[in-house]
């Protein structure tokens, strides 16, 4: 019997071009290289200075998302870029892709989207692949059982030139979330609970595999949200073994293998073997997870909504609580919220928008509160509009925008003003992340929507229970009506 292997071992081993030694790292082959405008220009310059071309443009795929405006072109036909430099950066990627034959889902493409939303929905991301991108949220693609991680711009150049990276194998951690998730608890809440348990740097040096009943019960979008935030625990990658949910989700997508059934048979073999060992194991009770929100300026500073802000354990905690304008011992649910943002590679997918719309339907955004809804891709936008979700958002008083990273990274002109408090479905609550001196609470789409209605951080289950009760009573009426006929 061969030694039992983890999912990570299996994907890693299949991509080793040259094994690592004491003196040199291994050479790891990369199946899919996703590229965006912000972290690639210097890499293209580097390979061009060496007279090199992109070695495998067929394994490279680019999009525009970070610097792009989310408002449409004005009457003059010009897109409202935040600066000329942002526009120049976008044009630079357009030029680089044309010069090197790299496919680009650019302006006008129906495939354009936030890179980690777009890759999976086009079926570019597949189980068992190695996927990299100059972006720390590349871990998202691990939801499909791919080994996916963020790299710096020098390494973007390495992959452009050789389709390989120099890597030493990371340690393996398994995070098992057991039990059944409660209604109203989403993948985002699981992610925030996991990060709170591991700690902000707790995953440094590891690749995480997520397992357990609660993880299996998540849809692919929930799994992507969970893997997406692995970096917020310090782990470069998070992975989930492919199963029927994975296979059903990918079926029929643009770039999946022609012989789909043969491919899926291989994908199902990727699961961690019984008895395989991990360097670290963490077990979390999924049934105990409640809707979560952060109180500090690191993603691990999260707690169930309504929990008092903890007493500071360090100067860093004190600084974080002061920056947020909170008080230790008091809940964060009384502070007026100025901005609600729904979107990003963490929570900009169709089920995220549905969850928010379910709360908002028939309700209004609190007067004075600004709510921005930014679909994660053109496909998400099309699907949401086909369902009429945009009408729910607009009727409630929210802004419905063009796909992009938008207020998650706040480099395209969408930002939270100094001092304002935002509840955001994005991934980072760092000081100034959503704008200079902006204050960020991270939460799920349902929580963000409930907050937009109430004007203060709100557990969405209040509204979801109302919605469920309403559905049940109308279903009961219909039944009664049917009997009367």
């Amino acid at each position: 019997m061969p030694d039992p292997k983890t999912l990570f071992d299996k994907v890693w081993d299949a991509h080793v071009v040259r094994s690592e030694t004491a003196d040199t790292p291994g050479v790891l082959y990369i199946d899919l290289h996703l590229v965006h405008e912000v972290t690639s220009p210097q890499a293209f310059s580097e390979i061009e200075a060496r007279g090199l071309k992109v070695r495998r443009p067929d394994r490279t795929y680019a999009t525009l998302d970070h610097s792009t405006p989310t408002l449409p072109a004005g009457l003059n036909g010009l897109k409202p870029y935040v600066t000329a430099q942002a526009e120049a950066q976008v044009h630079r990627l357009e030029k680089n892709c044309a010069a090197h034959g790299v496919p680009l889902a650019g302006w006008g493409s129906e495939d354009r989207g936030v890179v980690h939303v777009m890759g999976p929905e086009l079926g570019l991301t597949q189980p068992g692949m190695t996927v990299v991108c100059g972006d720390s949220h590349t871990a998202t693609h691990g939801a499909f059982g791919a080994l996916a991680f963020g790299i710096g711009t020098s390494e973007v150049g390495h992959v452009l030139a050789t389709q390989c990276l120099l890597q030493r194998k990371a340690k393996a951690m398994r995070v098992t979330v057991d039990g059944r998730l409660q209604p109203g608890v989403s993948g985002k809440d699981v992610a925030l609970a996991v990060i709170a348990a591991i700690g902000f740097g707790g995953g440094t040096g590891y690749v995480i595999e997520y397992a357990g009943e609660a993880v299996r019960s998540l849809d692919m979008e929930g799994r992507m949200t969970l893997c997406n935030m692995s970096i917020e625990a310090g782990a470069r990658a998070g992975m989930i073994a492919p199963d029927q949910t994975t296979i059903d989700w990918l079926r029929g997508r643009k770039h999946v293998p022609a012989d789909y059934e043969a491919a899926t048979a291989e994908w199902l073999k990727l699961a961690t073997d019984p008895g395989a060992s991990f360097d670290k194991e963490v077990v979390i009770d999924g049934a105990a997870i409640r809707p979560m929100a952060t109180w500090g300026t690191t993603p691990d500073a999260g707690a169930p909504i309504g929990t008092p802000v903890p007493q500071p354990q360090s100067d860093s905690d004190r600084k974080a609580i002061a920056y947020m304008g909170f008080t230790a011992g008091e809940a964060t649910t009384s502070q007026p919220v100025d901005v609600v943002f729904i979107g990003s590679c963490t929570n900009g997918r169709l089920p995220d928008l549905r969850a928010a719309a379910e709360v908002l339907r028939g309700r209004k955004v609190k007067p004075g509160l600004r709510m921005l809804v930014v679909p994660g891709s053109e496909a998400v936008r099309r699907d949401a509009e086909a369902e009429g979700l945009h009408e729910v958002f607009i009727a409630a008083g929210a802004e419905w925008r063009i796909p992009g990273c938008s207020m998650c990274i706040a480099m395209n002109g969408d930002f939270v003003a100094p001092g304002q408090l935002a509840v955001s479905t994005s991934n980072r609550n760092f000081e100034g992340r959503q704008g200079k001196d902006a204050r960020t609470i991270l939460a799920s789409p349902a929580t963000a929507a409930a907050t937009a209605v109430a004007g203060v951080l709100t557990d969405p289950r209040v509204y979801l229970r109302e919605a469920t009760a309403l559905k049940q009573s109308s279903a009961a009426r219909e039944t009664v009506g049917a009997q009367n006929v």
Binding site: A22, Y29, G150, G201, T298, M411
Partner: protein
Amino acid sequence: MSEPFQVLTSRTVTLSQANIDTDQIIPARFLTTTSREGLGKAAFYDWRYETDGSEKPEAILNRIDPAEHRILLAGKNFACGSSREHAPWALYDYGFRAVISTEIADIFTSNALKNGLLPIVVSQNVWDDLASQPDQPVTIDLQASQIRRGNAQPVSFTVESFARECLLNGVDTLGWLQSNLPEIEAYERSRETV
């Protein structure tokens, strides 16, 4: 490009806060550049400048001479968050050549090593000791993999062996990777025939 790193003797500057993320090191609004040059001004921008662009006189990074403070002594889990290589570019351009912390994020470590900025992880005791004497110069000897200061016992550190070799001798990492092209092509052929 950065120069080979062998021995560095310099004073340190301490930023003791834990979890200094790369958004602090260089805010996202500076990432629309297409160059890797000249980002020193943007290093810790929001810590150093007011909204109107005026200097914050109390900010430590505005009070020191970067040429005399090449070593950043940073709190735990330094440079976490975004993978932006603009972070080591900005720190290097500001003047730093080494960062010492008790924990440094993975992607930043990889990025820094490719840009002549040496990330060193030390124990809390060593960190506390270095922080307690900010004015005494510290010597980082990469060949010996030691930190030395005054008459104190030298402290050993480890850096990934290949990255260390590249730093010491100015090895071109991409060039080395390219020397593996025959193996890379063989790997591709072996997969296509499966």
